[in-house]
């Protein structure tokens, strides 16, 4: 119904890509949390907790402050910019700041690669879920869910997508809290579960993961500052109806985030305690959540969990499909000098379908786990976008050439480090943060913009 409503009411690019810029803090906060949290939380997170313990919480420990951080670091500057230069996309925002051509083209390329990797995470998680929890092949579940998502993402875009994502966020919050409570009850309570872990697996209650804490702290910072660089988070600022909506946005998004993330702690702690007692068995980290759900022996809970996981996957996928569609139908043509040609919604819709196909192929071909694939996408987007979004949007002295250097330099360092680390070198350098650090250096040390360049802006 919402897809049909979106098809009928969504007649323009502004409705397709930024939901007609009518979102208030509740809609944007719930939808933003839903789009930002995905299968990563439901499938990968609890498994990581059960295998490395509370050190895994470093990946989500920034959740209480990221809503506030985003609004301060990027939200307020973005809303100031789009008042005079409305943009439909993040590359469009970058182009409005530094001009068309290279800035837009490079940022659209970064967005494309990072978004496709993150989309592949969702599809892969669905395949795992199908294989472990349902009596039919995982790829069939993945294909079905993505088709359903495409039904509204490709017809109406964010016009139906935003309220659907907000509803999904609410559903995820309620079900995550419920399932966490039930899982902890199965493990005889929070106190009992922590006591069992303390006795049988004390290494799981070490925040520094028996000496490996340094890498987890890097991930803490990556996931904190990275929220200021992920297009599927930033896009929500483009949808806000006014600046006043920012006041309550952190409250709504933080509340939604923390309730959804309760599943990471609840399932992870309960699963870890049960496994330590020998009451639960699973083959690998990704299999913990399905194994724990089966052990609850309650079809209603299984259905509830499936609904929450599907909501998580669909909300993230819809936003990512929209971003990739925008890159193909608006950003790349504009970057190549064809921005004046009118963009038809049909192009955007076809681009959405193409994005789903490419992400699906990547998911099938990739041998990496859900968590690893998620970190790859997040890290690339952080390396590419963090410097220009956090510093470039605030400082008029940052020149076009500096921005291009940062957009190229950050991801280059990122890929170089990933290659080195795959061969066993420079293992302590977190690639996303290192790329962003180089980007910040290039941005500030490059020759500042002259008065003519500032006047053009």
């Amino acid at each position: 119904m919402l897809a049909i409503w979106g098809w009928k009411t969504g007649k323009g690019l502004e409705s397709f890509f930024v939901a007609s810029r009518r979102a208030g803090p509740i809609l944007a906060g719930l939808a933003g949390s839903a789009a930002g949290l995905s299968a990563f939380v439901f499938v990968g997170g609890p498994g990581l907790f059960a295998t490395v313990g509370i050190a895994s919480l470093w990946l989500i420990a920034s959740a209480p402050l990221t809503g506030t951080l985003q609004c301060l670091a990027v939200g307020e500057p973005i809303l100031r910019h789009i008042r005079s230069r409305p943009a439909l996309t993040i590359p469009g925002l970058i182009a409005a700041r530094w001009g068309e051509g290279w800035p837009r083209g490079i940022s659209a390329s970064i967005l494309l690669l990072g978004s496709l990797a993150t989309l592949a995470v969702q599809i892969k998680a669905l395949a795992i879920l199908g294989n472990t929890l349902l009596p039919f092949p995982g790829w069939a579940l993945a294909a079905g869910v993505i088709t359903l998502t495409l039904a509204y993402a490709a017809t109406g875009g964010m016009q139906p997508g935003l309220p659907i994502e907000a509803l999904q966020g609410l559903i995820m919050s309620i079900i995550a809290l419920l399932l966490s409570a039930i899982a902890l009850t199965r493990a005889e309570g929070l106190a009992s579960a922590t006591t069992i872990l303390g006795e049988l697996r004390p290494e799981l209650l070490d925040p520094m993961a028996s000496g490996h804490g340094g890498s987890y702290l890097s991930l803490f910072l990556l996931f904190a500052v990275g929220t200021c660089a992920q297009p599927h988070y930033l896009q929500k600022f483009l949808m806000l109806k006014d600046r006043k909506s920012l006041r309550l946005l952190p409250a709504v998004s933080t509340a939604a985030l923390l309730t959804i993330l309760s599943i990471w702690v609840g399932f992870g702690l309960a699963g870890g305690a049960l496994a330590a007692r020998g009451a639960l068995h699973f083959e690998n980290a990704d299999a913990l959540a399905p194994a724990l759900l089966r052990s609850l022996e309650n079809p209603a809970l299984l259905i509830a969990a499936l609904i929450a996981i599907l909501a998580a996957v669909m909300s993230t996928s819809a936003t990512l499909l929209n971003l990739v569609a925008a890159a193909f139908s608006i950003d790349f043509p504009a970057a190549f000098g064809r921005g004046s040609a009118p963009v038809k919604l049909t192009q955007a819709r076809l681009a959405t379908l193409f994005a789903a196909a490419v992400a699906g192929s990547l998911a099938l071909a990739s041998g990496k786990g859900v968590i690893r694939l998620g970190i790859l996408g997040w890290g690339l987007l952080t390396a590419g976008f963090l410097p220009v979004m956090v510093l470039g949007m605030r400082r008029s002295e940052i020149s076009r050439k500096a921005a291009i250097a940062a957009l190229l330099g950050g991801p280059s360092v990122y890929f170089l480090l990933e290659i080195c680390q795959s061969r066993g070198f420079l293992l302590k350098s977190e690639p996303g943060l290192s790329g962003a650090a180089i980007g910040f250096i290039l941005l500030t040390l490059w020759k500042p913009a002259g008065p003519e360049e500032k006047a053009e802006e």
Binding site: I54, L57, A61, S62, A63, P64, L65, G67, T68, L69, L72, A73, E76, P77, R80, A191, T194, T195, G198, P202, L205, D206, P207, M208, G213, G214, L217, S218, F220, L221, A224, V225, C228, R243, L246, R247, L248, P250, A251, T254, A255, L258, V265, L391, R394, R395, E397, K428, S429, E430, L433, S434, A437, I438, F440, I441, L443, T444, L445, P448
Partner: protein, 111 residues
Amino acid sequence: MRPEHRLLRILVPAMAFGWLLVQTWAPPRAAGIAACIILFTLMIPSSPRKHPGRALAGWIFLFAILLIWMVLLTSGLQGRTAFAVFVGGILLMGLAFPLIYALSFPDGDQS
């Protein structure tokens, strides 16, 4: 070149290089403290706040909570106490950060 930009050209590369060194060679507590400093630098508002004095006090208060929490968790704390500090700190910050942001949000067009 404006003095602000001159300062940025020193501070930003220093923090960026500092992080690159800390993540590779420093002990976890140093990395954690560096992370807190970086986060709070990013949280310096780009527009004036409604009550600047209160906003500054709030910023310092939040920084203090985050720093204390980080130092506790990187000081060798383990077991159920570590779990309580970890999760309790997350919940406390989840209340404090949005509240202080909302209270210091500038009214009207103060961009």
